[in-house]
């Protein structure tokens, strides 16, 4: 059985959203998705899945706060404690198992409500072995991984800078990307070193927004739309929670991709995937994730980046939406924004940033510091 995306809606993305409650951001995205799909959530949806983490929200047992703003009251509803892409995998299973014909997936970020972002991440760090050490922002943990990675792969600061340049400039064509800018290599190299070797501009700033997808089985999808986008593969993987056994090499993304590609029947990703949206919440992560997804070879990716291979008009466009560096860190909606961009591109609805060849696209998200976990989704038309 095939599963299709039959409706997408989003709200944002903005640096902050003081005029809307987070439930209203969700509501706005949901209304647009249902309109896009041509469905009534009170009548047509069999399963609602939200993706959220209590600590980002500022209150516990988030799943109890979900149903009303999605039209899910008195309906099967559950919350996945993870990124939007994990929610997609869950919806896929609900539909292919026959439990649901139509399922809805939601994720959001009201990051601007978080006043102590550093403390929140610290709260995710091991309290016995890691949390008590030092006074720095936990961004240091990503910088350690970066230091190891660029050393192993001989990646230069100019190569890292080229990721920022590409994504910030891509974002200028995305009306929903609040952090786009006409940025050059020099601008990046002039950005202050904040966690050497990591510069301030290499860290994705936070953003608010919500993403809602409506998914359906093949039969319903064909009734709802003439141009469904198929969810061809999903995968997710965790390495370990322990810093001593993590690969610091995005093995989680490589394994999740392997799982998703197998399901999608992709044997040579570098040839068969037309474009991808990958997690770039730290600039070096983009290079790491491109390799993990098998879209280029280890040791070659950074060179290809500088040569323009991953540009909007390059051989294999990466983060044509602007990525997290251009759109922002959307917390658990990060994978949602990436999946959204893939669907818009596949539908030919990406406006000025529309790619000429878009038949198979990949979305990938990481679970952020201090994790070595993540998920991948493959879409096609």
């Amino acid at each position: 059985m095939r599963v299709a995306v039959v409706g997408v809606g989003y709200s944002g993305f903005n640096a902050n959203t003081p005029d809307l409650h987070w439930k209203e951001i969700m509501f706005e995205a949901a209304v647009r998705a249902y309109e896009d799909a041509g469905i009534n959530p009170r009548r047509d949806v069999d399963s609602f899945i939200t993706c959220a983490e209590d600590i980002w929200e500022g209150f516990a047992i988030f799943d109890e706060f979900v149903p009303d703003q999605l039209g899910a009251v008195l309906k099967p509803t559950c919350t996945i404690c993870g990124d939007f892409l994990y929610g997609l995998a869950t919806a896929y299973m609900h539909i292919t198992s026959g439990l649901a014909e139509v399922a809805v997936v939601e994720a959001h970020s009201k990051a601007s409500d978080i006043l102590t972002f550093g403390e929140v991440i610290k709260f995710a760090m091991d309290p016995i072995w890691l949390r008590q050490i030092g006074n720095a922002h936990p961004y240091y943990f990503a910088a350690l991984e970066m230091a190891q990675y660029i050393n192993e792969c001989c990646i230069t600061e100019e190569q890292i800078a080229s990721v920022v340049v590409k994504n910030k400039n891509n974002a200028r064509l995305n009306p929903s990307a609040p952090y786009g800018g006409k940025v050059g290599i020099e601008d990046v190299l002039n950005s202050p070193m904040v966690f050497d070797p990591m510069r301030k501009i290499e860290i994705a700033p936070r953003a608010d927004g919500a993403v809602v997808f409506v998914l359906a089985n093949e039969e319903i999808a064909k009734k709802l739309t003439d141009s469904p986008v198929w969810l061809k593969g999903v995968g997710w993987w965790s390495e370990t929670s322990n810093f001593d056994t993590m690969s610091f090499n995005a093995m989680y993304a490589a394994k999740a991709a392997k799982m998703a590609y197998k399901m999608a029947g992709i044997t040579n990703a570098a040839k068969e995937v037309d474009f991808a949206e990958v997690d770039d919440r730290f600039a070096f992560k983009e290079i790491q994730h491109i390799e993990a997804l098998g879209l280029s070879k280890r040791f070659e990716t950074a060179t290809l980046m500088v040569e323009g291979y991953f540009d909007r008009n390059g051989e294999l466009p990466i983060n044509v939406s602007g990525g997290n560096l251009g759109v922002g860190n959307l917390l658990e909606a990060t994978g949602g924004q990436k999946a959204l961009e893939v669907v818009l591109q596949l539908r030919g609805e990406a406006g000025k940033r529309q790619l000429s060849k878009a038949e198979v696209g990949v979305a990938q998200a990481w679970r952020y510091i201090p994790t070595a976990s993540g998920a991948v989704a493959v879409f096609g038309v």
């Binding site: 003081p18 005029d19 809307l20 509501f27 706005e28 209304v31 500022g58 006043l115 102590t116 550093g118 403390e119 610290k122 309290p127 016995i128 072995w129 890691l130 008590q132 050490i133 030092g134 006074n135 720095a136 922002h137 936990p138 961004y139 240091y140 943990f141 910088a143 350690l144 991984e145 970066m146 230091a147 190891q148 050393n151 202050p192 070193m193 904040v194 966690f195 050497d196 070797p197 990591m198 370990t240 322990n242 810093f243 001593d244 056994t245 610091f248």
Partner: protein
């Protein structure tokens, strides 16, 4: 539709700052306890898998690869810098008064590592540098990871 109108005057927007105090005890567990008791005496231990021989640091009671038990082994606590960063911002993204060097240190006689502070001049630190732990004075030790003040070049 409710979004025909939105609040356009920012002075009419309201919010309130909420905080809630939450407290936990974090138990170090049997492997952690073994380590922190040893640390109080100035000693380091790791845990070796009885099945595959992999030596874990931080020590734990099971091997995460083959799910079998481990046994404790003594180690020196010294090691080699695998990666390091000079952290310049505090948890609120304000400049730290004094930058802190964090390092991943591969510990001798183990397959594991510790993440801790390094007391050295940033320009003197390099990958592969040999380092050793500096502990608090014996009577000040509490049996926690901060009993290790920092690592320093050995």
């Amino acid at each position: 539709m409710v979004f025909n109108e939105k609040i356009v005057n920012p002075t009419e927007l309201r919010h309130w700052e909420g905080k809630i105090e939450l407290y936990w005890v974090y138990t170090s567990g049997s492997a952690g306890d073994e380590f922190f008791k040893a640390l109080k005496k100035g000693k380091f231990i790791a845990a070796k898998c009885k099945e595959c021989g992999k030596v874990y640091f931080p020590p734990r009671i099971y091997c995460e690869y083959d799910f079998s038990e481990t046994e404790y082994v003594n180690i020196s606590g010294e090691g080699t810098v695998r990666a390091f960063t000079v952290a310049r911002l505090d948890k609120d993204e304000k400049p730290l008064e004094k930058p802190e060097i964090y390092a991943i240190i591969d510990l001798d006689g183990t397959d594991g590592c510790i993440v801790h502070l390094l007391n050295a001049k940033p320009e003197d630190v390099y990958v592969g540098m040999r380092v050793k732990p500096v502990l608090k004075a014996k009577n000040k030790r509490e049996g926690r990871i901060t009993d290790i003040l920092y690592y320093k070049p050995s």
